[in-house]
Amino acid sequence: MRHDFLDRYSRIDSPIHRLPAGTKLAIAVAIVLATALTPISVPVYFGVLGIFLVIVAVASRISPLFLAKRLILLEPFVLGVAGLALLQPNGGRVFAMIVIKSTLCLFTMILLSNTTPFAAVVSVLRRIHFPDLLTTTLALMVRYLSVLVDEAERMHRARASRTFVRNRRRLWKTLGTVIGQLFVRSTERAERIHAAMCSRGWK
């Protein structure tokens, strides 16, 4: 099975996709930093950034519906954090600030991850001497996420094909076993991967 939930549009062709990964990463990080540091009293900044991001989105030829879906998927987390702000005095203003800033940052990252293959991002991080352990872990995570999802899907199907009675309590119980199994299998796979790395000279 093939999975592309992580960076589905990262391999299509557009002016944005053709930009070097390093440039895109630098711009994205700069936007996130600037957005976090700019006070909400400068609404011009947020307006300009919003328009810029929309232009990038259009130029990237990614389906707007897909981008919107991604954003909606992540928005509950933002609202969860922002919601807490409503409890404090003058909360409305803080709420708006958190929502606007986070949404702009998330949109930036969604655009980055769908215009740049993750492998390219990792290799840029390696080039700028990011800590080795971190880049290796990131690279392995990207590599094995799809394997893990595959495994979970297979186990889910095997379970579903032997589930005859719908029983919520039993469902939760089996879900627990599936997660436990997945953990055990991942540990075993990690051991085999380590053996494979060692046998090609890893120390």
Partner: protein, 262 residues
């Protein structure tokens, strides 16, 4: 390396690539996986390693380049070109013995094909230009030139298997230890892999249930069962012995049954 190979050919007797003397191994859960295995393989030979599930084939292969046992001691039972597999010459042993794992997903751990094939040569400290050269040669050898930038999870199983092989070949090993190389391949994938393996001059040890592969590729076969060496001899003779095959969870391959002497 080439010098060694030439001197081996000049000598009357071929050099011993692998020598195993009374190898025993017990897993931490108490299972005796290997109970005193001894055999040797000459340089350039191709040996099939057959036996039922749990016979110890994979465990044996993991010993060939020191992945097992976890703690290596001086009194090793495995010798590679005369050198014992020990902590001191582990790097050299791993450079000489390439291991192809059963599950391609375990072996392809890098985000791109290029990085994966380059992994071995990089570990052995080659400079980047030489690494790139090795990667291109290895990928060309397995017929996957142009796959450098692809991600492993976007490849078919056959392609993945071949990338794994390229990753091993890029280390320029003199011994190839293959664990179930044809297990999840379709007939075409199998055929291509067989043709590919035949072209590789290295010494090969193939652990497999695919007896047709053994018949076509390996003149010699070793039969293991429950950690013991049951038989060691010519493939034609061994695999044709129906009672022996059945007694150890195998069967006479069809390819031998239908072979008529005309």
């Amino acid at each position: 390396m080439n010098r060694d190979r030439e001197s081996g050919e000049r000598g009357a007797k071929k050099a011993q690539a692998i020598e195993i003397k009374d190898l025993r191994f017990r897993y931490t859960d108490g299972v005796d996986a290997l109970r005193g295995i001894s055999f040797s393989v000459n340089e350039g030979d191709c040996v099939g390693l057959v036996g039922p599930n749990g016979a110890g084939k994979s465990t044996l292969l993991l010993h060939l380049n020191g992945i097992l046992p976890e703690r290596l001691d001086a009194a090793s039972s495995v010798f590679v070109f005369g050198h014992p597999v020990s902590e001191q010459n582990l790097t050299e042993i791993r450079r000489r013995v390439g291991l192809l794992f059963q599950d391609a997903n375990d072996q392809l751990f890098c985000p791109t094909v290029f990085e994966d094939v380059a992994f071995g040569p990089e570990q052995f400290g080659l400079d980047p230009a030489e690494v790139a050269g090795r990667v291109h040669t290895a990928l060309a050898q397995v017929g996957l030139s142009g796959f450098e930038k692809r991600a492993p999870h976007h490849l078919s199983r056959g392609e993945r298997r071949r990338v794994c092989l390229a990753g091993v070949l890029a280390c320029d090993p003199r011994v190839l230890a293959l664990d179930e190389p044809t297990s999840d391949l379709d007939p075409r994938g199998k055929r291509e892999l067989k043709a590919l393996l035949r072209q590789i001059p290295a010494t090969k040890i193939v652990a497999t249930h695919d007896l047709e592969l053994v018949v076509e590729l390996c003149p010699r076969t070793i039969l293991l069962d429950r950690g013991e060496l049951i038989a060691d001899g010519s493939t034609a003779q061994l695999l044709n012995d129906e009672s022996l095959m059945l007694a150890h969870g195998l069967e006479r391959p069809h390819i031998l049954q239908h072979r008529h002497p005309h």
